[in-house]
Amino acid sequence: MDTIQQVLADVRRGMIPAHIYNDAEIFELEKERLFSRAWMFVGHESEIPQPGDYVVRRVLEDSFIISRDEQGTIRALFNMCLHRGMQVCRAEMGNASHFRCPYHGWSYRNDGRIIGLPFHKEAYGGEEGFARKGATLLPAPNLANYNGLLFVNMDPDAMPLDEYLGDFKFYLDYYTKQSASGIELRGPQRWRIKANWKIGVENFAGDMYHTPQTHTSVVEIGLFREPKAEKRKDGMTYWAGRGGGTTYKLPPGDLEERLAYIGYPPEMIERMKQLWSTDQLQLIGEDAFMISAASLFPNMSFVHNWPKVEEEGDEVVPFISLRMWQPVSENETEVMSWFAVDAEAPEEFKELSYKAYLMCFGSTGMFEQDDVENWVSLTNTAKGSMARRLLLNSRMGMLNDGTPVVPALTREEFSGAGSAYVGYSEHNQRNFLQEWADHLEKPPVVAPSHAVGITNGQLDQYSSKGA
């Protein structure tokens, strides 16, 4: 039986003990040391545009009400009544001025503050027994926003989101800031797959190698023209900050021609030109790379593709999708997949882009269907004793002595953030698992407990006064 130190050492040299994809002990460590301190996506501002709007989202087992209060402030409130612990909101979405616990009728404003406590005077003796003033549903330890994306962090001492994202923000903007209004989200589609959460993250982060094999069928039916093997290997993969992704190499042309080639109308291109940095524009206009799939540590992924969705003509339409790989256990994951579109895009574009998303990704997506089949199978196989003896080779793109098969792109060839390599490799999967290994070595997060309704130092032992 290998120790966790041996597992991490193997992972760090690109040799993956296969059982990490279906191992209850590893999953416990991930919960204790990784998900307890990573920034986790819970939703987007556009999902709760009006005061009182809310969605309920989980961070592993913890349920949070992501609510916009009457002043417009967005909050993440632990969905547990302060009295007996009942869920105060049992819907997934809606609009409410307050949440009332069905058990004993305690109620809370949509900013979390207690507004109603039945028989406060008779049952508790008023404020002296239960300090209602200032009592609020427990807020998430940290809530932060980038381009409208809302992230929660369970570690009270978490590093700021901005610092956590680091240079990945350079790429995040392509997906989430195509105009000053940002994106609007629809969905999510939710479904559960019998696969370990890490597999999808790694795939989206850098697996250009699977595209020509797994997704042969979508090229054959004329849905997508790009994934042919010879095209995919011309793209580069990048790793920047705490995320990485894949790209396609675009045909000759300038910035406008290349954005038009993948289906963006002139008015959207104009807004991108005004908003994106010189480097962000040059990555497309000069270097000819177009972002496709990506992952942000630990379990959020992105897609940007441009299929043909109408029978007539050869035009393609781009779509963007965001997703979470929400772990349920070591061998089950809830996929939450949103369609995202620039809020300022023309209505016709929004409709066709939605159509493009449905045809390609999500619960019915024709790309996605074949991916999940592979990941379920992998997870099953990783369960047994043989998987504990097998070190999977995840060293693609690197020779035995550690030198890369092809050198990293230079600043002349690549205007993007982070490091990038053209062609098939597993640099990104290794970067992801390196970050994973670093987290599993950290000590568990220590968080204070919150006592509710009492004033510090004034509480007496209930037994000392007797009954």
Binding site: M93, G187, W191, I193, T214, V218, L358, E373
Partner: protein, 194 residues
């Protein structure tokens, strides 16, 4: 029917879809139209079980809207139970054809080996509509899906609100609104049809 109505026209892609409305009460179970509708649904379920999608497409109308919105849990009285603007399927004839064409390639790995499927169809009732030669048919479908040897099977339960149109003596599916009964699906993908 109140249950199926709220989402009926909520798709942004439904502009070209038939807008036929049902009229009156459900037909008698001995009514010739009801018997034809029931027979059509049962025959269709055998095609879907066998994944004989080529034959299935022959009975899909050119202006079909095949739609399954995402269900969400909302408070009683919220007035909606589907995710605004989001569906699992929101298909026209072309996108259904692409899906079928993909299954007919040799590289649709997710169904190789194929699932063992059984569509159980029940609770069928039939209505006349405001368009001649078109009938509305409600049904409940329970899909049992088994993959591999010992994988846990999956179940999908849904209500369906169909519009059938008689064209050259044959009934064709012109509209199908599927109201799936789970918010979070417990199946690895929807590489099937309901």
């Amino acid at each position: 029917m109140a249950q199926l109505r709220p989402h009926a026209n909520s798709s942004p892609l439904a502009r070209h879809a038939p807008t036929t409305m049902r009229t009156g009460e459900a037909l008698s179970f001995s009514d010739e139209l009801h018997l034809e509708a029931h027979r059509w649904l049962v025959n269709e379920s055998y095609l879907l079980d066998a994944q004989d999608y080529g034959t299935w497409l022959e009975s899909i109308a050119h202006d079909v809207h095949y739609f399954m919105p995402v269900r969400v849990t909302t408070a009683l009285g919220a007035g909606y139970s589907t995710s605004p603007g989001m569906a699992h399927w929101d298909e026209n004839r072309y996108s259904l054809e692409r899906r079928v064409a993909r299954f007919q390639t040799e590289h649709a790995w997710t169904e190789d080996p194929p699932s063992r499927l059984r569509h159980f169809i029940t609770n069928v009732r039939t209505f006349r509509t405001d368009v001649e030669n078109e009938i509305a048919v409600d049904s409940a479908v329970l899909l049992f899906r088994s993959r591999g040897d010992v994988n846990e099977p999956s179940l999908i339960s849904a209500g369906r609100d169909d519009l059938l149109r008689k064209v050259d003596g044959r009934w064709m599916l012109a509209r199908r609104h599927i109201l799936v009964d789970e918010s979070v699906l417990r199946t690895q993908n929807l590489a099937i049809f309901l």
